[in-house]
């Protein structure tokens, strides 16, 4: 069974600091998604990474994909309180029925 490992599970960081969330997966795929979820809200799409070496940035968040290492990172630069949320990565593997395989999520708390 495909495994998607996300770490850390919990992250508490101070405003202004940088940190990286990691997403490792166990099979070949070049389609990876990052989502953000605020309590009680929908999973909000952050990034769609569709090829090896893809890098996308939006504000203080930057996501990258290394399909050879089966690794995606979500880098947070100069964190602010508004980034507090749970972040999920999800892998889409062709020929497995179009289901997304999710990591366990990273609960991020940014402390003033």
């Amino acid at each position: 069974e495909l495994k998607v490992e996300q770490n850390p599970l919990f992250l508490s960081m101070q405003e202004g600091k940088n940190y990286t969330i990691y997403c490792n997966y166990s099979t070949t795929s070049d389609r990876l998604y990052w989502y953000r979820q605020d309590p009680g809200k929908s999973l909000e799409s952050l990034f769609v990474l569709l090829s090896n070496g893809a890098v996308k940035q939006e504000g203080r968040l930057m996501a990258s994909l290394d399909t050879k290492a089966r690794l995606s990172t979500l880098h947070i630069t100069a964190a602010v309180h508004d980034l507090s949320a749970t972040y999920f990565c999800a892998v889409d593997v062709p020929n497995t029925g179009n289901q997304f395989y999710f990591g366990t999520g990273t609960s991020l708390t940014v402390i003033p």
Partner: protein, 113 residues
């Protein structure tokens, strides 16, 4: 454009009772998915509809779960009879096509006591 909506947002039922969850996908999205997150674990796939047909139901845990999508619009997921281990958050998602980005609803939190 309205997003994916789910109803109810919360449901608390007793073991042995029946619950029906509803999902309204984004208008025009033929593909509809159900996922579940149990006890803080990863979000897991349950099944996938293309229009009114079940394309993949490999993630359905057992025959107490019944999903329907009559007319290819909204979908329902019925749990009958509910067991304690069914507690969790049930997410619905929709997409324009296979291997397209999936858009998620806010989820239904189900608590079975």
């Amino acid at each position: 454009e309205a997003g994916v909506t789910q109803f109810p947002s919360h449901s608390v039922i007793e073991k042995g009772q029946t619950v029906t969850l509803r999902c309204d996908p984004i208008s025009g999205h033929d593909n509809l998915y159900w996922y579940r997150r149990v006890m803080g674990k990863e979000i897991k796939f349950l099944l996938h509809f293309v229009k009114e047909s079940k394309q993949d139901e490999s993630g359905m845990p057992n025959n107490r779960f019944l999903a329907e999508r009559t007319g290819g619009t909204y979908s329902t997921l019925k749990v009958q009879p509910a067991e304690l281990e069914d507690s969790g958050v049930y997410f619905c998602a929709s997409s324009q096509g296979v291997y397209y980005e999936q858009y998620f609803g806010p989820g239904t939190r189900l608590t079975v006591t």
